[in-house]
Symmetry: D2
Subunit: 371 residues, 4 copies
């Protein structure tokens, strides 16, 4: 479905970086969910570049909900969100020179020169602002049924943040801490923000860029959600995560580490606690068995490649004139998108969690509660 995803709660994204507007349509969310526009603004502010580590292009992201919300509550019909593009500066882009690791060349092949190339067009990270808006609405629906999502930078360059207590049943406080952060703060569980900033600053100084690994935890999802084959929780999550530009790897629980373990090390032992609730002592499976939630936190990591736009001179092709050339990317770019990507990943997850809950319990679950 190209730019639409979701079985029961779906999201459609549209827009180009330097066109009139970008936007999103959420369909399927039940009526009566309270929508706090202040929270949407807050989420957008976490995606917004800050002077420190990010691109100097700052959009105020003046979103407008043009349908689907009435008297501050969802109506049950499609919620359309429009974010006009304002701070556009197309002069910095030269069409025809393929920026390495960007979609310029593939877009040219696919769209035959008709693509809106300005600022990366539909491939721009700008589109994620619409995803974050939509995600903020979906996160409010999830909050009402006790589901919370949090993402932090697990590593950046050689620096490593603390990991979520992956083998713990309870990571809610860690999620709360991440979500309560200041807008420009780097989402981290430990106190290593200076080190991370230094990694980014150094890369920026060298006209270079860095990537990193993000780690996400989701709590509150009941056991029994997801499907054995193509709608496994891992399938649905990875589908949306890999839609986000820059994500090149996704692993659940212990992921690639798990591939090196013995079965006796990797298996998560089930136990009942004193209240008769099942849990696992470890969480190498990231809260998912056979594609279905087991009631433990859902934990996964996303590998984010370094921002392709770097200020160094690079060799590349001029695909309009079909010849080799060199390129010095001007324009306004991020030396690292990992800080800003955290809220994007949370938003993507929110879509999948909402859709999975609606698929199992019906779309009215967000009014009725999980039961």
């Amino acid at each position: 479905m190209k730019n639409t995803f979701g079985n029961n709660i779906s999201l459609t994204l549209f827009g180009e970086s330097h066109g009139e507007a970008i936007g999103a349509v959420i369909d399927g969310l039940c009526a009566g969910i309270e929508i706090d526009e202040g929270f949407i603004k807050e989420q957008l502010s976490k995606r917004r570049p800050s002077g420190n580590t990010d691109t100097p292009r700052v959009e105020m992201d003046e979103f407008k909900i043009v349908s689907g919300v009435f008297n501050k509550k969802t109506t049950g019909t499609p919620i359309a969100i429009i974010i006009p593009n304002t701070n556009t500066n197309s002069k910095a882009y030269n069409y025809g020179i393929a920026r390495p690791s960007h979609a310029d060349y593939t877009a040219f092949v696919k769209y035959g020169g008709n693509e809106d190339y300005r600022g990366g067009g539909h491939f721009s990270g700008r589109i994620t602002a619409a995803l974050v808006c939509a995600g903020a609405i979906l996160l409010q629906a999830l909050k009402g049924v006790g589901v919370k999502i949090g993402t932090h930078i697990l590593c950046c360059g050689e620096e490593k943040d603390t990991s979520f207590s992956v083998n713990s049943r309870d990571v809610e406080k860690e999620i709360d801490k991440l979500n309560a952060r200041e807008n420009e703060a780097i989402p981290l569980l430990s106190d290593c923000s200076d080190k991370i900033r230094e990694v980014i600053r150094k890369a920026s100084e060298n006209k270079d860029s860095v990537g990193g690994v993000l780690q996400t935890a989701i709590v509150g999802m009941p056991a029994g959600v997801g499907e054995p084959w193509f709608d496994s929780v891992e399938s649905m999550l990875s589908h949306v995560l890999f839609s986000i530009g820059g994500v090149k790897g996704v692993e659940f629980g212990s992921g690639f580490e798990m591939a090196k373990m013995l079965g006796s090390q990797a298996n998560d032992v089930f136990r009942y606690d004193e209240n008769g609730n099942a849990y696992t002592e470890t969480n190498n499976n990231g809260g998912i068995n056979g594609g279905i939630t087991n009631g433990m936190p859902i934990i996964f990591n996303s590998a984010i490649k370094p921002t392709p736009s770097i200020a160094q001179k690079q060799e590349t092709i001029d695909f309009l004139n079909k010849k080799n050339t060199t390129l010095e990317v001007k324009g306004r770019h991020d030396p690292a998108i990992i800080r800003r990507a955290c809220v994007v990943v949370d938003s993507a997850c929110a879509l999948v969690m909402c859709d999975l809950l609606a698929s199992t319990y019906g779309t009215s679950v967000f009014k009725r509660g999980i039961k």
Copy 2:
């Protein structure tokens, strides 16, 4: 869509390990593709356990194509494949005891005790035999348009196989070598099969199991296939890969390694060769930029967790009686599924490649050729 995947060419899977039969329905494949049943048998034989490293349950997999093929060619209408279950031995399973890292508990929560628990039911690796059958048909369609897929074991325990020449434009010979292997051979690029067998044998001896990482390469896909957002090549591939039981991580190109690189190291430099064809000097992006193929080989790795069924005594829960207990898994199990999983991954890829080609060029592409 739960057990159906694909936009233009779709696959539906059904069946339980110890039920009457398992099977698959392929829909959307155009008319006139020649189907060689011998090739399907060959592919099934690569998934079949062999005395050496795998479970002693051996099914002859007597598949039957009951519709959609006439005079050895596809008719254009749904291709249904049935594989009766014969060698079933349900006595070895105790319902109610959750095998750690298996779907017993999550299935119980989801299906409320109505699930066909025998041999893992619909969650059994047995279902992948139907996927392999379908994949064999789809691989024949792909062959006709010059697309080839190959998977090998990249690592198992501490042992490592050679990597595909990931930064090379041409991995076709390596793919051919893998696909020409003997049925019981371990798919490897280098000559380390004894070492891998030894890793598996040792685990088996210790009543334990091992996982590993598989690496897959796809050649022949034209540039310009895939979509910017939710139908990115990575999204579609990961969706199907994570449907396969045991897959806990997927990374494209340099994946998680790429997250540690600087932009200047990670960016793949575009060049034109002497014939005016664009390529990249490295392939850290795994052949995909902005979700769209760039003409380089598509390369990705899948992390396979160690087989959960081990013969050691394990602590777990009895969810029928709601109490803690211990379990010694009897039955017939694989100390490692990585050898058998290679052809399963190839089959999953075949579905996605067919669907992506059909979405871009129309379903008739397999008759008409890519143009």
Copy 3:
């Protein structure tokens, strides 16, 4: 999705008239629904030709449920049904001569001569046996939540049956009467079966065929089901109805008659009854306002064209040799399919009603009840 339909409960159909088997896969039906194979047989028997009015090809329809049912209850995973073809007699068909009003020519254009033409292949009414099997399972799920469906012949030639009490709130007894009929009986509300048989007999005698209009009523669907735009109840129902070969018109409530009324005549007046339940005094809208059920019976008519296969000599084309020719259809054909089509329409409706209920209330509605 070509041969698959349904958002939350989906049905996939496969098979050709003279291939190995036909079949169906139901996906999404929740676990724990009791399946009575006797009822499936009964439904099949209503679709089966009887000596009187129908084709002499009689298949015993020995269906086999090969997955998704365990201990006589649904498991929650895909239910696959296989019906082997036995009584096939391909000699009667000449490939290349387009039977008028049949799909021979269009299939040839679409499939380029690779279609399984024997007995109409995938276009044969035979495929509806698989739909009836699946429908019988879905009807059992619906019965559990109080939803009933009944179809009768509203007119055939000049003969007219009584209409459902379309403006009545209660047509349950009429539905029960239809469903309790003998296998070979013609589904009628009034006592006009002799007249209908005579119409068919006369057509048959003249080597001709007749069509008719079927009327269907559904009771028990709660108000509030369906969606304003593309998943309107009318949209979903008509989508599946027009998939059935021979259906050329669908109208809801007063349908085409309503187009001739004045607003003051057509509007259905809402009232509360003594128990505080809303109803409408008339039911010109067929139980649907704005695409959503209003709690009144859903009523619609389907126009069935006369069976295209007639024994008279007809002019037509030989598309293999690209020339005009004449044709005398031999083989075994129905002078009228309207009797047999009733249970097919019921089955198609059952799919849509199940899917609509699952979309609103979650797939667990069939265990939980509507609330």
Copy 4:
């Protein structure tokens, strides 16, 4: 998918009558299609009320294409269209009183009082302005491959327009005539506009309303498009047609009349013409055999019920206070929507034709041409 329809070319609709804006997103249309905004305006003007026969609410429909079109050509990424609502007058509506034959009551049941009831909200005919915008873009894509669509009023009250030459191979001139009409003109094939206006005027005078039957013809679709089961041309068309408010019946070719014919009368005889092109001498099947186009014009009729909003006092319920009451609808309403509905039906058809062509030939068909 609720408010999204289409497999390869999809349309998403959003908005409420008196909200900020309504709009549409088209996804999947290939890059490079020229978009003439003047044509969109023209199409909107045909949907716009005119002083004569329609509601006095006149919106100027100042649409804005905010994405997906660059340098007056499609970019290949989603085309989003926004139409702000300006002339809103919510005071005329009383929430809680169910307007008979409207969706007020069903929306209340479905959305629990959270629906945007003003002016019918998402159920308003206003949303069709977004459909017409999208349709105008899709019609331009179709024009490029030689497909044309035209709709006229076949009957209104007792008045009847000429029918399309349904049994003719060529109705292109009739379609051209309809499409070349003046904005406020009633789409008719014969010269009966005064009579039709009189029917409407008389109803209006009596505080009443009228419906009618629309007839649509599509030329230029190649043979071989559509699918045997759930994506039959009839299924896809009826799905979208029944999404349009007020449509209560759809019939293809001779439709309900065909149900009364004998097979020998109904069968369309195939012939080759002097140029070796196949055609049928009659077109009772409306250009579709077995769900697939046969190369003849696609012909169908849509029954439009009389506008539910009439100025007469009507009995109904007050669902907020759960009591019977009476209602005099004030506000601004159409005594007939059949004139305005013609362009809406054309737009709905355009979506289906585009999607069917893309599904068979690939989305690039609109650049490449049909081959």
